[in-house]
């Protein structure tokens, strides 16, 4: 499974999201490839991803992609990330 973490610049917020998503996926025992991307390349990368993690500002900009776009409010809240990822993961 491929997951893309998207932010404005690809060096700060998306990197934090990627690290915390990987932490959560390990706990859940889910095997997934998480990549960080800036909004410029995100749409292309999201095309073959199952899940996109991002903040509210970028959810609209990513536009129509097959991936499930999830908005994270608190990047440090592993409980929020866990709950939202769990809901989006295929059974």
């Amino acid at each position: 499974m491929k997951i893309v973490a998207v932010c404005g610049m690809g060096i700060g917020t998306s990197v934090l999201l990627k690290m915390n998503a990987e932490k959560v996926l390990r706990t859940l025992g889910v095997d997934a490839d998480v990549e960080a991307a800036d909004i410029g390349v995100a749409r292309g990368m999201a095309r073959d991803a199952q899940i996109v993690l991002t903040s509210e500002e970028f959810a609209d900009e990513i536009g129509e992609v097959p991936a499930n776009v999830i908005i994270i409010d608190n990047f440090f809240d592993l409980e929020e990330i866990t709950a939202k990822l769990k809901a989006a993961l295929p059974e």
Binding site: G8, M9, G10, I11, I39, E56, F58, N74
Partner: protein, 150 residues
């Protein structure tokens, strides 16, 4: 790299209980601290402010916390961090996480060299923010950060 987050924050990188009238002035203080440590030029501070103007307040990544940054550019001389706590919180216009009480300034020369720092930062900032914000000296802040770094 054996540097811990606390060691990376020199006295020049830390501004405590700063007075900022709005988010721009708060980001500017974080940018000035990056300049003071030799990490960036003034142009990078302008780039950080432009990023919010163009992309929105997405840098407010958790309640009370903003991670001010822009992309790697010639304005970045070396990877660096700054830490600015505010005397009075400022609004960035974020729907969930306003108002902001802590600005962490980040400058990176590329996409990978600062990953260990980011990992440490995530660990520290998911801890007790109130205690971090109460620090009244750079040494005290570093001590609290050390206690929260595994």
């Amino acid at each position: 790299m054996s540097d811990t987050l606390a060691d990376e924050l020199s006295d020049d990188a830390i501004v405590l209980h700063a007075d900022a009238s709005d988010w721009r002035s708060a980001v500017r203080i974080a940018g000035d601290a990056l300049v003071a440590t030799g990490s960036t030029t003034d142009e990078y501070t302008a780039e950080m402010i432009r990023a919010v103007e163009e992309l929105g307040p997405y840098i407010v990544i958790a309640p009370s916390i903003a991670l001010a940054h822009s992309r790697p550019s010639p304005a970045v001389l070396k990877t660096g961090l700054s830490w600015v706590s505010l005397a009075t919180p400022v609004e960035f216009g974020h729907s969930a996480n306003d108002p902001v009480r802590l600005i962490v300034g980040l400058a990176a020369v590329d996409h990978d060299s600062h990953l260990a720092t980011m990992s440490n930062l995530a660990g520290v900032l998911s801890g007790d923010l109130d205690r971090l914000l109460e620090a009244t000296s750079a040494e005290q802040l570093r001590e609290i950060i050390r206690e929260n770094t595994q």
